[in-house]
């Protein structure tokens, strides 16, 4: 089908009217978070969970739910990669560097997030760094 379209374009000089959507960081993070939210087990009814890599130094875990009085509640935890280690930052709480089981659990989630994002979103083998066979809808020059 694609070959036919390319031939048609070559012969007629007409360009497809399809306009590809350029990517943004926000869109990519949303896609990655679809994977991230699944990594910590079932999400309770009424809860909304996001877990994603915000930038080159920050992981974010965000939860929203309603309490017994139906009041909206939120919890956001940032994990910041710093020279001193991985700093856990929660509003209103003492910041601390992760270690022990908590550090290892986060590392496991990060590993799964990275592997699945590379394979399922970016179509790259996370181990080899080589592209998995794919046909991009559009390649920008």
């Amino acid at each position: 089908m694609k070959l036919f379209q390319q031939l048609k374009q070559l012969i007629t000089g007409q360009v497809s009217s399809r306009t590809p959507q350029r990517l943004t960081d926000r869109y990519l993070i949303e896609q990655e978070s679809l994977i991230g939210r699944e990594l910590f087990g079932p999400i309770p009814d009424g809860h909304k969970r996001e877990f994603f890599c915000l930038d080159a130094k920050t992981w974010v875990w965000h939860e929203e739910w309603r309490d017994e009085n139906n009041a909206p509640q939120t919890s956001t935890t940032r994990y910041e990669v710093q020279p001193g280690g991985v700093l856990k930052v929660q509003p209103g709480r003492v910041y601390k560097y992760l270690d022990g089981e908590e550090l290892e659990n986060l590392a496991l989630a990060v590993r799964m997030y990275y592997d699945r994002s590379m394979r399922e979103i970016y179509k790259f083998d996370p181990q080899t760094g080589q592209p998995i066979h794919r046909t991009p809808a559009t390649i920008y020059s």
Binding site: P20, R22, D55, L106, A107, I121, Y122, T138
Partner: protein
């Protein structure tokens, strides 16, 4: 950022007080059972507590430790080699700690680079997951 240069652990059981200054490049090898906070290393000092077990890596000798301590005019008592079992457990914990840190630190850098690549080469259609 996080050293994996810990293949040759040579634990020395030591007690000390005070702060041992030294070359920053050496401090990655001083990851003890307490997982000394790297934050304390950023200024080029290592704040040791009593009963820390020091893994000295390629600098496995009391003389090296004593040299640092002497330079710092701080007290250091080397008790002896940690037991095999003890050192094995501590080494294993230290390795897991280092690997976990490395995983958490490296992945976002690679993902950040991957996003830049994707923005240059892919469309939304290419990367969309089924909701």
């Amino acid at each position: 950022m996080f050293s994996n240069n810990q293949n040759t652990y040579n634990p020395v059981r030591a007690t000390t007080r005070g702060v041992i200054p030294g070359e920053l490049t050496h401090f990655d090898e001083f990851l003890g059972s307490r997982h000394i906070e790297r934050g304390s290393l950023s200024d080029g000092t290592l704040d040791l507590h009593e009963d820390d077990t020091l893994y000295t890596g390629e600098h496995n000798d009391e003389a090296y430790l004593r040299g640092l301590a002497q330079a710092a005019e701080t007290e250091l008592t080397v008790v002896g080699q940690a037991s095999t079992q003890e050192s094995s457990l501590e080494q294993d914990a230290a390795r897991r700690f280092a690997v976990a840190q490395e995983t958490i630190a490296r992945a976002p850098i690679q993902l950040d680079a991957m996003r830049e690549y994707a923005k240059a080469h892919y469309t939304q259609e290419d990367v969309a997951l089924a909701a």
